[in-house]
């Protein structure tokens, strides 16, 4: 009887160990929180965070995080009942600001993914970390040249190596696969 109990207990422990996710829920939440904090932290020219970060893990592929934001929050001209006109100058200025902030956003996303590679300890080194940002544009904006989605993908091990080697600039950018849609 005792031996039977031990056998059942052993099988149960094996089953529970196999169903436990490789990437823990808490580690995903931690990365989400870091993304939200980072994107809200810019004081001078913050992003307009329209959708908080959401992360998930796909076994055998990697961890994926998505977020939605507008590149501009402050002093973005908007249509109100008493301000129904937007000049061409304002629209052009907005486009210029957004184009400039695209580079800042890419840098931020790379930094966040470098941090995530350390936070996601359970993630196998050969799997990927993907970060997808949905970019919001108003219908009256000149969004020519501005993507609606920005997706960065990198292998965890390469991210850890880049972090250890303190890579910057073009060397760091070469670690990532970038896709703009």
């Amino acid at each position: 009887m005792k031996s039977l109990f031990l056998l059942v207990a052993g099988i149960a422990s094996l089953c529970s160990a196999s169903s436990e996710p490789v990437v823990s829920f808490n580690s995903l939440k931690a990365v989400e929180a870091s993304i939200n904090d980072k994107l809200r932290s810019s004081i001078n020219d913050p992003y307009d965070l329209l959708g908080t970060a959401r992360g998930t893990y796909l076994e055998g592929y990697g961890a994926i995080f998505s977020v939605e934001l507008n590149l501009l929050l402050v002093s973005a001209p908007n249509l109100l009942p008493f301000n129904q006109k937007i000049t061409e100058t304002e629209i052009a200025a907005m486009r210029e600001r957004k184009l400039r902030k695209m580079d800042l956003l890419r840098d931020s996303m790379r930094g966040l993914m470098l941090g995530a590679s350390k936070t996601l300890t359970g993630l196998p080194a050969g799997e990927r970390i993907v970060m997808e940002t949905f970019l919001f544009n108003y219908h009256w904006e000149n969004s020519r040249g501005l993507p609606h989605r920005l997706v960065l993908t990198a292998e965890k091990q390469k991210l850890l190596d880049a972090s250890a080697l303190h890579l910057t600039g073009a060397e760091l950018a070469a670690v990532f696969t970038q896709e703009e849609l």
Partner: protein
């Protein structure tokens, strides 16, 4: 009339018909002979007078009355005949007068009545007023039609512009609402994330 024996040579000299040698000899003679000099002056005066007279052309044909071409035509011979003599003419005139008297005595033409209609001043004024009123009415109608057309076009353009602006504003408002909802969701989500952290911080503090 000169009595000099060279009178004939003098006439030839006057008409420039002498040879050069005879001419010089005549000129010497004229200085000595006063009769010939006087005769020469007379001849020259006559020559000058003749040159003043107009030239007359020589007739190309001379005809006589007896030529056949001057014979009267048959009609002329009829009118010159005794039928149109003064007696016959008087008789014919009297006959025509008698016929005319008889005709007027038995035939009276219908009386010709000429009716001239003259319009009165009031009638003329009425017509002018009517014409002016018609012209003014036409002009007013035309101006009103043009005004109506212009107003219609302006109104259509304004409606189109208003519709466009309305759609634009509506789309903007919808998008603004969407942004506000997303911001609200973000705020709620972040607040729910912050509460456990605060609670855990408070728990750790205790």
């Amino acid at each position: 009339m000169t009595t000099c024996d060279r009178a004939e040579a003098l006439r030839d000299y006057a008409f420039d018909e002498l040879a050069a040698g005879e001419r010089r000899e005549m000129e010497r003679h004229l200085t000595a002979c006063t009769d010939c000099a006087a005769e020469l002056d007379q001849l020259r005066l006559t020559t000058a007078a003749l040159r003043i007279l107009p030239d007359r052309e020589i007739p190309q044909r001379i005809a006589f009355v007896s030529d056949k071409i001057f014979e009267p035509s048959p009609a002329a011979r009829f009118f010159r005949s005794g039928f149109f003599s003064s007696a016959w003419a008087g008789f014919a005139s009297a006959a025509i007068m008698a016929v005319a008297l008889l005709f007027t005595a038995f035939h009276r033409p219908a009386e010709i009545r000429t009716v001239v209609q003259t319009a009165s001043a009031a009638d003329v004024n009425r017509r002018i007023d009517a014409a002016v009123a018609t012209a003014v009415a036409d002009a007013v109608r035309q101006v009103r039609a043009e005004d109506a057309k212009t107003a219609k076009e302006t109104l259509a353009a304004a409606e189109l512009r208003y519709e466009r602006e309305h759609r634009f504003l509506l789309a903007s408002m919808e998008q603004n609402m969407e942004v506000l909802q997303k911001r609200l969701g973000t705020f709620t989500s972040l607040a729910s994330l912050d509460v456990p952290q605060i609670a855990s911080q408070n728990g750790a503090g205790q």
